[in-house]
Amino acid sequence: MALPGDEDEQRQGFRLAFEAAPFTLDQIWMKYFGIGGRAGLTEVQAYVHGALSLPPIERDMLAHALNESLNSLGANGHRAGYSQAISLKPDEGERGTS
């Protein structure tokens, strides 16, 4: 389990990217479910609003679902952040159009 601060930070990052994105949470949940997410829509809604804690793997998959959706639009701007369990290559910077 990550520290509480990590989850809050990740939730904030997700909300920031989500609120600027042209998607509903239903759509992101569907994508999240498609890549293997296990939390239900209600749980995801509760997580986004700060009312529920999700395991790091589910938070990462939710962030990833939003980011893949944004990438598929070729959208610039905010991406949702990952937990420390995801190690990126150091030279990877902006991840934009696909």
Binding site: G34, T42, I57, E68, I86, S87
Partner: protein
């Protein structure tokens, strides 16, 4: 399978919501075509009829017409951003043009429509609970002052067409959702299988295998599905 229950609930709800639809293959476009043909029959001296559906921002989402000239006249409205259908949609009220060459409201469109051989037009909005979601228009090749009776007739016609279209659109949306659900399940299946292969090959648990797939997707700037499909394809002995 207690842990799967939240998802089972979601899917059951999604399926239940749409289980009573999809009985016919009527699409919005064939419905639109039917409406234009019926409109021309209802107004026997018309040169043609067209129908357009608009989204909340006034962008045309789909359209049908009885002749290429009508299609051109309609398309011109959206290119020029002016014309009777856009006004009918925006105002929610019928719009009639007795002569496109002398009408001052949409001069550019009027000139262009006149060049196409169309001289007069009536457009009535398609309304669903006071919200306009499109417009039907009838064109004539001669100047014509539409009577109140004709406009009223077209309004009644549009009201019936609206009921029909609202139903057909709901059905098509359900079809799209059903298709999306199928592809989502196929994607989840592919990623889950790839996860299993990673677990066996690298001797890691399901949790780490999922992180592995996600990290690879991020570092290779690909989607998780693309990573999963590559793993499936490069694994000998798997069918398809």
């Amino acid at each position: 399978m207690d842990t799967e229950l939240p998802l089972a609930d979601e899917l059951a709800a999604v399926f239940a919501r749409f289980s009573d639809v999809l009985l016919t293959e009527e699409t919005v476009s064939s419905a639109l075509k039917l409406i234009t043909e019926a409109a021309v029959l209802a107004v026997n001296d018309a040169a043609g009829a067209g129908v357009s559906l608009m989204d909340a921002n006034g962008n045309r989402s789909s359209a049908a017409s009885t002749s290429p000239v009508v299609a051109q006249a309609d398309t011109l409205q959206y290119e020029l951003g002016q014309g009777p259908c856009i006004s009918a949609w925006a105002s929610g009220s019928p719009v009639d043009i007795a002569d496109v060459r002398t009408d001052l409201r949409w001069p550019e469109w009027g000139t262009a429509a006149g060049d196409l051989g169309l001289r007069s037009c009536v457009s009535v909005p398609l309304l669903s609970q006071d919200l306009a979601f499109g417009a039907i228009k009838i064109y004539w090749d001669k100047p014509k002052a539409a009577s109140h009776r004709l406009i009223r007739l077209l309004e009644l016609f549009a009201a019936q067409a609206s009921i029909f279209l609202v139903n057909v659109q709901a059905r098509e949306r359900a079809q799209m959702l059903s298709d999306q659900l199928k592809s989502t399940l196929a994607q989840r299946d592919a990623i889950s299988t790839a996860k299993g292969i990673v677990m066996a090959n690298l001797g890691m648990g399901g949790h780490d295998a999922m992180l592995h797939l996600m990290t690879r997707a991020l570092n290779e700037n690909r989607t998780m599905l693309e990573v999963a499909e590559e793993i499936l394809e490069s694994t000998p002995g798997l069918d398809s």
